[in-house]
Amino acid sequence: MKKSVFFGAMTVAGLAAGAAAAATLDDVKSRGKLNCGVSTGLAGFSAPDANGEWTGFDVAVCRAVAAAVLGDGNAVEFIPTTAKTRFTALASGEIDMLARNTTWTFSRDVDLKFDFVGVNYYDGQGFMVPKELGVSSAKELDGATVCIQTGTTTELNLADFFRTNNISYEPVPIETNAEAQQQYLAGSCDVYTTDASGLAATRATFDAPDAHVVLPEIISKEPLGPLVRHGDNGWGDVVRWTMQALVAAEELGVTSANLAEMSGGTNNPEINRLLGSEGTLGEMLGLDADFGAKAIAAGGNYGELFAKNIGEDTPIGLARGLNALWTEGGLQYAPPFR
């Protein structure tokens, strides 16, 4: 009899574990804090500033979600993850979501059991070399020593690129961007390869950015976006629609400047639904009616976040390109808020 009690207890424990995994939204609310996985430091995307405050384009997604759920964009515990540790951190429940320039791939979505909720940056893999090497194309890199971050799609794309072009290379696997930067600058590798946005961000922090060139070849598609655990669809919806709210805000012309005024109600019903003065969209997600307004208030709409963190006026200087709104020739497109 004792045995059956024991097994019964264990089944309950097992069920409890399953149930806990399924209600991230409640966990976050009762904790009063969002645990958000970010990178260990990539200027413009996620890096602590001089005051130890995390800032950046990926960080902004975390803050928007925290604002939508908890009403406070600062109620975030940022958890730095390396390319290698990020998926374990998410799968184990250590973090509620991951916003760490992570490429949406089939196997990560299907086999690793995650859900990508969207794409906040459309990217591709590039190469950076010191100008003095006089290289003008990635196809001239035969025999080069290449620094790569291990545990990334970069690693696999690189192997494919060199194999299909029938040239050889020596990989130097590295755990974080900071170490890669150090080794690249010390000349222990000839080339640094990662997502083109990452290259731009890394180069911007060099003492002499002009001494390095990014080669023209973009060898892969890297749709980068936030992700959550598979199976908790309610939480997935919260993160997805918070992010889309930022894009929709840019489409609809809602900015941090006019947000307060528009929240009172406008004659555009879609804006009203987005900001919560009309309809019950927030309630459907299990959030306040004005979750969209709060998310936008945390840092601005998608375009503002882009301009502030990585845009052309920042040292990183990325053009909108593929990440412009669809109306301006880009790929950013928010599904209707209704």
Binding site: A83, A91, L141, R163, G187
Partner: protein
């Protein structure tokens, strides 16, 4: 009360399990075992339940999938089209390579430092004390990173060797010291007896073994002669002939040539490359563990009673002879058991390799493979099995050696 000489069998009561010293320890052991088994069952069940809740399972099928990534230091053929298990094997060989190299050099460092620490020369003994205290009190990961960082920062990049006003030059036109590693000439056989270079080297090894046996015979003969006549014949020319002649003849026949490294494109090509990560890891592990071994050696030597040294000195042996013939053989018996655990430490600490990008088994199977396939539990189980097997094997070998040097009691 009278004492029971023969307790009646039928009077066993449950309370005796606790109160009776005959049963008490058994009871406690059974309880402890039960608790242990239950907690393991709980953990296992929890794991399975959680995996099921997350929709995951345990499956080793991924090992035959294409790895898709490259490894720079490989002792066997490997390309990114090979399987994950092949990649793990490449990593395994790399682990073994660095562990063996580091065990040898750590022992050398340790013995030298341990003996010198007992030197009568104040400066030498204090220097060695300094070495031991500095190296064993700073974590090995820090040493690995310090050594690697210094290497990459101080040594010139290959591109510094290029051009008319190159800032770096090769040593003797044969060795290149760069921040990516050290390049040395590679000996090979132009007209070897076998097609494969490896077989040719095996032949060299066989010939060397033959010379060794012959040399031993000569020594036995010389000792016998010494015993009989009191005079030891001069064996030096004979030994030299035995060692050198077959070797030189073989090298001439097979046409020994040297392939020199040369700067081609981005890197030095040709010759042997000893990669920077290997050097940093090897050196850091050796110098760190060497400090521990030095202490073991010192303890072993000091444990040999002073009377032994004095007696040996009284017999007229010189201090170096006293050390080699009297003290060290006895000290070995005390040194070897802790030495085993140092060798185990080296093997396990070599898993810090990824800090400098060395592709050991933790970096391949436990790093890239784990990450690309997401099969964390399977990979970690395999890693545990590997390190456990490796450690048990090292223990076994060292214990056999220990048995062979330990005091033979007759």
């Amino acid at each position: 009360m009278s004492t029971l000489t023969d307790p009646p069998k039928d009077s066993f009561r449950l309370s005796m399990l606790i109160n009776d010293t005959r049963y008490r320890s058994l009871t406690f052991q059974a309880l402890a075992f039960l608790a242990l088994a239950l907690s393991f069952m709980y953990l296992g069940n929890n794991l399975i339940a959680n995996l099921r809740a997350a929709g995951l399972n345990i499956n080793f099928g991924f090992l035959t999938d294409t790895a898709g990534y490259d490894i720079s230091q490989k002792l066997v053929e490997y390309s990114n089209q090979d399987s994950h298990s092949r990649a793990a094997f490449v990593g395994l060989l790399n682990t073994i390579l660095v562990a063996v190299l580091a065990c040898v050099t750590a022992t050398v460092f340790g013995v030298i430092a341990g003996v010198l620490r007992l030197s009568n020369n104040w400066l030498v003994s204090k220097l060695m004390a300094f070495y031991v205290e500095i190296f064993r009190n700073i974590p090995v990961l820090i040493w690995i990173i310090i050594i690697f960082t210094i290497m990459t920062a101080v040594m010139p990049a290959p591109r510094a060797f290029r051009g008319d006003n190159a800032t770096a030059t090769m040593v003797f036109d044969a060795f290149a010291f760069t921040n990516r590693g050290i390049y040395t000439p590679l000996p090979w056989f132009a007209n070897g007896i076998f097609e494969s270079q490896a077989l040719n080297w095996l032949l060299v090894l066989v010939v060397a073994c033959g010379s060794w046996f012959a040399a031993r015979r000569v020594n036995v003969w010389a000792t016998a002669k010494q015993e009989a006549t009191g005079e030891r014949p001069n064996t030096l020319p004979m030994l030299l002939g035995i060692w050198l002649a077959p070797f030189l003849i073989l090298m001439l026949i097979m046409g020994l040539t040297w392939e020199y490294p040369a700067l081609k494109g981005f890197n030095f090509q040709g010759g042997i490359k000893i990669g920077g990560p290997l050097i940093a890891l090897w050196f850091a592990l050796s110098i760190y563990t060497g400090a521990f071994i030095a202490e073991n050696v010192r303890a072993g030597i000091q444990a040999v009673s002073k009377g032994q040294t004095e007696a040996a000195a009284a017999l007229g042996l010189r201090p170096s002879k006293v050390m080699n013939l009297v003290v060290l053989p006895q000290a070995l018996r005390i040194i070897i058991p802790p030495l085993i655990s140092q060798y185990l430490n080296i093997t396990k600490n070599s898993s810090l390799a990824i800090a400098v990008g060395y592709a050991d088994i933790t970096a391949t199977l436990g790093g890239i493979t784990l990450n690309q396939t997401g099969r964390a539990i399977e990979c970690v189980l395999l890693l545990m099995a590997f390190y456990l097997t490796a450690s048990l094997l090292i223990s076994l070998v060292m214990n056999v050696y220990n048995a062979s040097v330990k005091l033979k009691e007759r």
